[in-house]
Amino acid sequence: MSEFKEDVSIVLGGAAGQGIQTVEEILTHALKKSGYHVYANKEYMSRVRGGINTTEIRVSSKRVRAFVKRIDILVPFKQGVLSWVRDRLGENTVVLGEKENVEEEFLDKVNLVEVPLTKMVMEVGSQLYLNTTAAGLIVGFFHGDFGAVEEYIRKRFGSKGENVVQKNIEAARKGYELGVKLCEEGTIKIEVERDEKVKDEVLLTGTEAVGIGAFAGGMDFLSFYPMSPSTGVSTFAAQHAEEFGIIVEQVEDEISAINMALGAWYAGARAMVSTSGGGFALMSEAISLAGMAENPVVVHLAQRPGPATGLPTRTMQGDLNLVLYSGHGDFPRIILAPGSLEEAFYLTAEAFNLADKYQVPVIILTDQYFVDTYYNLPAPDMEKVKFERYIVEAKPGYRRYELTEDGISPRAVPGYGEEVVIANGNEHDEWGDITEDAELTIKMQEKRAIKKLETIKKNAPLPKLIGSENAKYLVIAWGSTLHVVEEALEKLGRDDVALLHFSWVYPLKPKVREFFEGKVLIDVENNITGQFAELLRKELGIEVHHKILKYDGRPFSVEEVLEGLKGVIE
């Protein structure tokens, strides 16, 4: 008998096009509705059919938000899955499914629970229902709410007609009944407590959190050129464009995308572009224009490994330097990197206020791991989102680039007020006209690169400290690694280790230095050189003592971070 308690990690593996995503969706929704905490993340190859894609779903009695390497239950939909996840298989891993999908070499090594999925679905009528049966089976293990499965199937397949819905429900029920039976027979035993509160929570992906955050922040316009893994945000925006009354335009290239967004902001709208490293590389010229013309813009950059086309469907925190240094000349920018889905929502919304207020590019850095992650959470609170507009009326005598103490000139937009608004990517005087005057050049350079930067720094929030202020060890993380480090620290269970997480990545307040004083600093980053550690050194003169880096295109697992930390501390 195989027994799992409190926290079960289920991995489904199959070819692209085999419908693993459907299983993932039905399962997570039904289990959440049944009162379980769920987390899911997928890993996929850059191809439309074939290959091997896997999805990890954690079902837990406590909140779970991080990727674990461990597999408790593995459901392979084709041969090759076991080899693909070989190093994640443990003694207790149960392989569930059909013998044909298990490679010869594993047959006598794993705990195989044979389930005749194909035979079962053929009774319903078609191979097509395999996914729903598998989903039903797993929900059955948890004695989940079958009504929720039905509800989801209806929502998902409703447009395909009642027959498809009924067949899928029948297939799911067969799976469900078998799941319950396997538990009753004692083949599998799962004990995860339910939490009634979960039922009322929302299930969100990183993509949706960014997308809906942008809507909450008053996004009016999104222009994009498709590139994985950022496209999801554009798709999301397009699908809600009509409802929210915004423009979403797929343009000829990334250069056009960001320039259109600059134009939209110049005229007073709130615009965003969504892209990945390769696309952002093309945008750097316009980022520079935004810097000189003090034209606000919001960019969402979902990172994937580079250089060049790198690993299109995999993950890395490798583009920090790109966004930090992109564009020629000196000008300020703001870089945000949400760690949780809540942060992705609030920060994306806030990005529009920040861009509006400081008139700089605001870049939201996520990555493939982050955008494809989802879990349940209490619905973010719209009341906490402030809509702050900083546009002024162009009264007679208006000067777009008026020299001010804090480096921020009042921004008017064309048509609002009697006066005209001149913006310029050339060095300019206060009105916006071209200048080559040495003194004015100095003033304008100082206004942008010093005064404005200082103002932003002064108002920048501090990073989040998790754990004791007096801890001897301080783990440093930014962006998407938040939860995995957090869970690793919980597992480590030592109160002399704390976590300092940065979701406001740049520019840093000098006060941040105080967090580091007298500590052993351990930097955790999903890239090869420790780009954030380098930033700390450059900005604050902080040297980290240890680096735990991962750069195989995969996200950190809780186990890996834990091992890395143990290696440093013990």
Binding site: K33, Y152, L204, F215, I246, Y266
Partner: protein
């Protein structure tokens, strides 16, 4: 020039300190284009704050500094996407994208092609001096074969770009060519271009007295003619005219009335409020989260 200038022109004469010292060479055709544009705006009865000129980079692209309307002097080749964003954000503005032949046809070529497909209601004015001015006389996409330049000392052997034929081939909404030496006619063409709903392309021939010794004022007068008997709604005829190379026809080549970008985006279908005046919709965000509870 013995022409009656319209009233209202003074509105468009900028008084800003930086706009007084014009950086164009004495005798340059750009002055004429500025005059033409100011007259066109004045005759149309527009107000300076209702117009926005988005320019790229080059001598031509300095226009926003020498005229009193909203302006954004941007990047080489990028005026069109920026102008598209401006118009999308505020369709109440009259939006003009302006630049040289290098700006619009070389660096910005791809944007021009796709702007024709997208059809935003903007006016694209190309100052076509058949040479790069600001960077001192290199060949541009429209330089004639055989012309020698410091960077093409052997003489240009590439085929010159034919912007009109290209635009008509792509079924652009409005395509015209003028020579800035013909003031009255040019004002009329630009007025029609601004009034036309949809993307308009006006190729404005103008001499570069510093670097183009071939295509002079006299040359343009000798090598151009006005199309008197042309029907701009006849696409095939327009295309044939666009292929003529010497003399070059002037006038409105092609008009195709069709829905604009702004008219087709769902954002403006029910609600005409310019994007920039819109506020977030918290109730819809809340509704979204309700849906995510399922």
């Amino acid at each position: 020039m013995n022409v009656q200038l319209p009233t209202g022109r003074e509105l468009f004469e900028p008084k800003r300190p930086g706009s007084q010292d014009i950086a164009w060479c004495p005798g340059c055709g750009n002055f004429g284009i500025r005059n033409i544009l100011i007259s066109a705006l004045a005759e149309l009865g527009l107000k300076p704050n209702q117009v926005a000129i988005i320019s790229g980079i080059g001598q031509a692209a300095k226009m926003p500094h020498y005229i009193n309307v909203n302006g954004y002097h941007t990047l080489h080749g990028r005026a069109i996407p920026i102008a598209t964003g401006v118009k999308a954000s505020n369709p109440e503005l009259t939006v003009i994208a302006e630049g040289g032949d290098g700006d619009m046809y070389a660096e910005g070529g791809n944007h021009l092609l796709h702007a024709i497909r997208r059809n935003p209601d903007i006016t694209v004015l190309i100052h076509d001096n058949q040479v790069y001015g600001l960077t001192k006389g290199q060949a541009s996409p429209t330089t004639m074969k055989g012309m020698k330049t410091p960077t093409q000392p052997w003489g240009v052997f590439e085929e010159p770009f034919n912007p009109l034929a290209l635009a008509i081939a792509l079924d652009a909404s409005f395509v015209a060519r003028t020579f800035m030496g013909y003031f009255k006619e040019s004002v009329e063409i630009i007025k029609k271009a601004i009034q036309h709903k949809g993307l308009t392309i006006v190729d404005i021939l103008h001499p570069c007295v510093s670097f183009n010794k071939v295509n002079t004022y006299a040359w343009y007068r000798e090598h151009t003619y006005w199309m008197d008997d042309h029907d701009p709604y006849d696409r095939e005829a327009a295309f044939r005219r666009a292929l003529e190379s010497d003399p070059l026809p002037l006038g409105i080549f092609y008009i195709h009335e069709k829905p604009t970008f702004e008219e087709q985006v769902p954002a403006y279908k029910k609600d005409k409020t310019p994007l920039w005046k819109r506020e977030p919709k918290p109730e819809l965000v809340k509704k979204f989260f309700e849906g995510k509870k399922l």
